[in-house]
Amino acid sequence: MMVKDGDYVAIFNSIHRVMQAEKRLKELRLSILLIPAPRALKSDCGLALRYAAADRPAVEGALAEEGLLPEEIYNKKGEDYIRCR
């Protein structure tokens, strides 16, 4: 329910990496939210970052620069998550 149609969800497999990514993106004042990974994508208590399509270049650019690119990135289309990384 926290992910709207068109939003992006980045999944990290390390709590330390996702927290580091959240901290850095917040320092850059980018509009992201740390959320539990949607159940459709992960069954354990994984964490994910949610961001809007408009923020995608800035968010993923910053993560690449910091060496913090996520394991997987999904785009929500209707009820489905389309993997794009």
């Binding site: 329910m1 926290m2 927290m19 939210l33 740390l34 959320i35 539990p36 159940r39 208590c45 964490l47």
Partner: protein, 193 residues
């Protein structure tokens, strides 16, 4: 029949108002006047989730919704074994120890509630818990969505004043210790976080 006018109210106030009206009506039908869009959808979803029958009709520029039938779960506030649960949130952290982890866990817990079919009747925020309902909180969006499903979000007035955050309340309403204590005594279960 009781008539409740929820036109020109912003979410989640229509759901909160209808919930109170149904509690006061003690089983009698309630007619609700609503604006089109989210208020109408949220009230219909809330009433259906509580086992009420919902009939809708166009009325003027909005909708009239007749909510009737006995609720699956009692809407009365009488003590009831196995009744609805109340969450007492007395901190902005879940668990002791590392605050950074505690804050993250609390945020994730609240967001996760949105994916569950069972939700609490009320969430009572006190002490540092009020940092979750006031400006700067990252769970306002999630709490608003829970409120739209009928969860009552209440923050302790004394706590808001202590932290000078009464003007910064972003979701739910202000409550007092009388209501907090009464809610806990009347709940089927109280879950303290």
């Amino acid at each position: 029949m009781k008539i409740v006018d929820c036109r020109n109210m912003t979410c989640p106030m229509p759901v909160v108002t209808v919930k109170r009206a149904l509690e006061e009506a003690s089983g009698e039908s309630v007619k609700v006047l609503l604006d089109e869009g989210a208020p109408r959808e949220n009230v219909a979803r809330f009433a259906a989730s509580r086992g009420f029958q919902v009939e809708e009709a166009l009325e003027g520029e909005g909708y009239a919704m007749l909510i009737s039938g006995a609720s699956r779960e009692s809407t009365s506030t009488q003590p009831e074994k196995g009744g609805q649960s109340v969450f007492l949130i007395a901190s902005d952290c879940l668990g002791d120890g590392q605050e950074e982890l505690g804050r993250l866990l609390m945020k994730n817990f609240i967001i996760t509630l949105l994916d569950l079919s069972e939700i609490p009747e009320r969430m009572l925020f006190l002490n540092r818990g009020i940092f979750l309902t006031t400006e700067g909180s990252e769970v306002i969006e999630a709490l608003e969505k829970l409120a739209n499903r009928g969860v009552e979000i209440l923050s302790c007035g004394v706590c808001l004043d202590f932290f000078n955050r009464r003007e910064k309340l972003c979701t739910g309403s202000v409550t007092n210790m009388f209501t907090i204590a009464e809610s806990m005594l009347r709940a089927g279960s109280v879950i303290r976080l």
